[in-house]
């Protein structure tokens, strides 16, 4: 008899004890398990949502949000979008502006408008405040000539182009700023003038300082982790304490010690002068510059490299190296072919940890970085606290976030995040 049916028939479906199809019974059991897991994770989920996800979304929103002009002179902001940018607007638009500015002045909001426009056209702050002040007395039109008479900038095209762009509810100008671009007077995207280009340099510096710190950490952590994984427990515990020491010392003590050691009149320079390596006049500047940032941050981030490396090395039995030796490989070859590949997950985990931490590091560069050791996060902090340009701070943060996500994705593609061992 020929067997033709290959698809399962009703008889093939497995039933459980109560007669329910087995697949269905399994699905129900799995669903209950998932629900239980979800309930257990719920408090943490809620916490992360409130304290992490929500602020990030809000920050990202701030980087494109542009309410200062849009909300305070609403009528003009709406009408100016229809303006064709060919000639100075006509009397009608001036009249709307006058009414809006007068209303804003009553609510004392003209300052916000002025500050916002000033980001795009320097010197336009006084123009707005002055106009708003004078408008209190002038209650009737015609306005156009009066405006231009008051401040000749009202008769310039670039003022109006800027105002049109700046009055949109959402703007890309913070992001443009954060990568050293801007809207030109004719509304095109152009590079910032040379003397105002700072952020790309900073991103680039942050990137390569982080790479340098990561490499230094790998270089320092690998041998020490190896020792810790192979030495008797008592000795390796001692080493572990030494490695974890920077975690336990207060930030100020740590930083002060670096200053004591590294400053031009500090211990290290004194020693080098004493032993005649350098002249007294040529003492080396090792702190308040990039060197200071790199040294101090490598010290602080070293444990993040040692711990994953150590935990990976701990799991490699010594018999692997012995096997390689007995098979004819000398020490170096056995290390290169057997030990090193087995520790790559640890190196990778430590590297991505140290790299991401140093990209976002703020306090150490602020304390010992001087001018040349400042990183992008120091400027984000500056815009948050000093210049109060939160939009720009948010945009810089957004760019940083995107860059890290990109690196993470690339890393996942090349090495695979599942191969990574955190310990």
């Amino acid at each position: 008899m020929a067997v033709t049916a290959t698809t399962p028939t009703a008889d093939d479906i497995m039933l459980d004890a109560s007669g329910m199809p087995l697949k269905q019974a399994l699905a129900i059991a799995e669903r209950n398990k998932r629900r239980k897991a979800l309930i257990m994770a719920l408090p943490l989920l809620a916490f992360i949502l409130v304290s992490f996800i929500f602020p990030i979304i809000q920050m990202l929103f701030r980087s494109i949000d542009n309410p200062a002009i849009h909300d305070n002179i609403p009528n003009l902001s709406r009408e100016i979008q229809d303006w064709d940018e060919r000639a100075i607007p006509d009397e009608a638009l001036f009249a709307i502006l006058a009414d809006d500015l007068r209303a804003a002045g009553k609510l004392k909001n003209q300052g916000k408008v002025a500050t916002r426009l000033n980001y795009d056209i320097t010197g336009s702050r006084s123009m707005i405040t002055q106009t708003a002040r004078k408008l209190k007395k002038k209650t009737e039109g015609p306005y156009k000539d009066w405006f231009i008479g008051l401040n000749e900038k009202w008769g310039e095209m670039r003022t109006w182009v800027a105002l049109k762009k700046a009055s949109q509810k959402y703007t890309a100008s913070f992001y443009l700023n954060s990568i050293d671009m801007r809207y030109s007077e004719t509304g095109k995207i152009v590079a910032q003038p040379e003397e105002r280009q700072i952020y790309l340099t900073l991103f680039w510096r942050t990137f390569y300082i982080s790479i340098a710190i990561t490499l230094i950490c790998v270089f320092l952590a690998y041998p020490i982790s190896f020792l810790m994984a192979t030495l008797p427990v008592r000795t390796s515990n001692m080493l572990m304490i030494l490695v974890l020491l920077p975690f336990w010392t207060s930030l100020l003590v740590r930083t002060t010690s670096w200053i004591v050691l590294l400053q031009t009149q500090g211990t290290l320079n004194d020693l080098m002068v004493y032993f005649g390596f350098i002249d007294d006049e040529n003492r080396i500047q090792m702190i308040y510059n990039m060197t200071g940032t790199i040294v101090a941050m490598s010290h602080i981030l070293l444990p993040f490299m040692v711990l994953p490396l150590y935990s990976v090395m701990k799991t490699i039995p010594p018999s692997y190296m012995r096997a390689a030796r007995s098979l004819g490989a000398n020490q170096a070859y056995a290390f290169y072919k057997i030990y090193l590949p087995l520790t790559i997950p640890g190196v990778a985990a430590g590297s991505i940890l140290v790299f991401i931490l140093s990209v976002g590091y703020y306090i150490t560069p602020a304390l010992v970085g001087g001018r040349t050791g400042q990183l992008i996060s120091n400027f984000i902090a500056f815009h948050m606290q000093k210049s109060l340009n939160w939009g720009l701070a948010a945009a810089l943060g957004g760019v940083l976030l995107a860059a890290i996500l990109l690196i993470y994705l690339a890393y996942n593609r090349i090495i695979g995040i599942d191969k990574m061992k955190m310990g």
Binding site: P317, S319, Y320, R322, A323, A324, R325, S326, L327, G328, A329, N330, Y333, A334, K337, I338, P341, L342
Partner: protein
């Protein structure tokens, strides 16, 4: 078959201490013949692994020489000794496929691609794993990993292979199967094998000769049958196989027999092995299967009354515990054949053994 005149490996007065206080290996002398399968057997902590590690070059000797092929190798680095090794946990490189694992020793030696591939395939066939070359070690069962480890230790044609409890992690059935496979590979290739185990049945099954270890000293080096039938001392008798012990004092001594008065007052004649003078304390050793139930005095010159304490039915034989000559732990293996009379617990029976099956050895203090 074994020619001990031209040994491949010689341990000469080797001592080893890890901490400078205790000698783990006290005075180790051993000649390993070419082509033999020699097993080091001994209780845990007796220094077997240590000896193997010294031979492989992973531990320095504290004193004494190890000769390989007539040359001292104390100062030869491990990778230059050309000794294959199978580790207890297999030590297969987890990031390499099975084929890459096998190719490793060949690549190290600079062998060409085609030749390497051919040798790897031949080695895989030898352990019946042809077609498994692309797999990772983690994708193999324990027994398969074990075979790969054996193949890897043999693929570069070493003259000597060391195996340190290679079957320790396998279940009983698989272990027995692997014992035969390793044995057959050894016979086919003629390679010298030094094998470490603390499982005596494994040692008896596989070896040409067995070196019984205790306390860092070789207690006896002999073929399996000799070790079982003719133990040199009480430790070996006790360690290999099941053994009944009777303690007493030597009363009479001749060239090859000794008469011993047991602590219970009974007199037993035994083969004289390890006793030198009258008045000395001695332990008599007697295998359970050499004791006859309902013995008559024409064949057996040692006959005693025994009380049956316990009967354990084991299919092919009945394990019988009796009290005889003051020893309550005396074991007899009664074959389960049709002409054996039925026994019951508490019954008194007559048991006997021949002088030749009972050996008078040094006094054994252990339990």
């Amino acid at each position: 078959m074994i020619d001990t005149n031209d040994p491949l490996v010689r341990f000469i007065g080797v001592q080893k201490s890890y901490d400078g206080e205790i000698l783990v290996v006290k005075d180790f002398n051993l000649d390993i013949a070419r082509g033999e399968f020699l097993t080091m057997l001994g209780p845990s902590g007796s220094g077997k692994t240590t000896c193997l590690m010294m031979l492989a070059g992973f531990e320095p000797t504290t004193h004494g020489d190890i000769m390989l092929d007539g040359k001292p190798i104390n100062n030869v680095a491990p990778h230059k000794r050309g000794i294959g090794m199978v580790f207890q946990n297999y030590a297969l490189f987890p990031h390499m496929s099975v084929a890459e694992n096998l190719a490793f020793p060949l690549e190290v030696r600079g062998m060409g691609k085609a030749e390497t591939e051919e040798k790897v395939n031949r080695a895989l066939d030898m352990v019946q794993l042809g077609g498994f070359g692309h797999r990772r070690p983690a994708q193999l069962s324990g027994g398969q990993q074990q075979r790969v480890a054996v193949a890897r230790a043999l693929v570069f044609d070493p003259q000597l292979v060391l195996m340190d409890e290679p079957l320790g992690a396998l279940d009983k059935q698989l272990r027995e199967q692997m014992q035969y496979e390793i044995k057959h590979i050894h016979e086919r290739l003629g390679v010298t094998v030094v094998y470490v185990t603390h499982d005596q049945s494994e040692a008896l099954t596989m070896s040409n000769r067995i070196a019984v270890f205790e306390d860092g000293i070789v207690q006896q080096l002999a073929a399996p049958a000799d070790l079982y039938e003719k133990p040199d001392n009480a430790f070996v008798a006790q360690f290999i196989g099941e053994n009944n012990r009777l303690n007493g004092i030597v009363k009479e001594i001749s060239d090859d027999t000794a008469t011993v008065e047991l602590d219970s007052g009974d007199m037993v004649t035994a083969v004289r092995i390890n006793v030198s003078q009258v008045g000395e304390r001695s332990t008599l050793s007697l295998r359970p299967e050499r004791v006859q139930v309902n013995a008559d005095s024409t064949d057996f010159n040692n006959i005693f009354d025994a009380t049956v304490r316990e009967l354990i039915y084991l299919g092919d034989h009945i394990r019988t515990r009796v009290n005889v000559c003051g020893n309550d732990e005396f074991i007899i293996k009664v074959p389960n054949s049709s002409n054996v009379a039925h026994m019951s617990e508490g019954e008194t029976i007559k048991i006997g053994w021949k002088t030749n099956d009972c050996r008078a050895l040094d006094f054994y203090e252990g339990l």
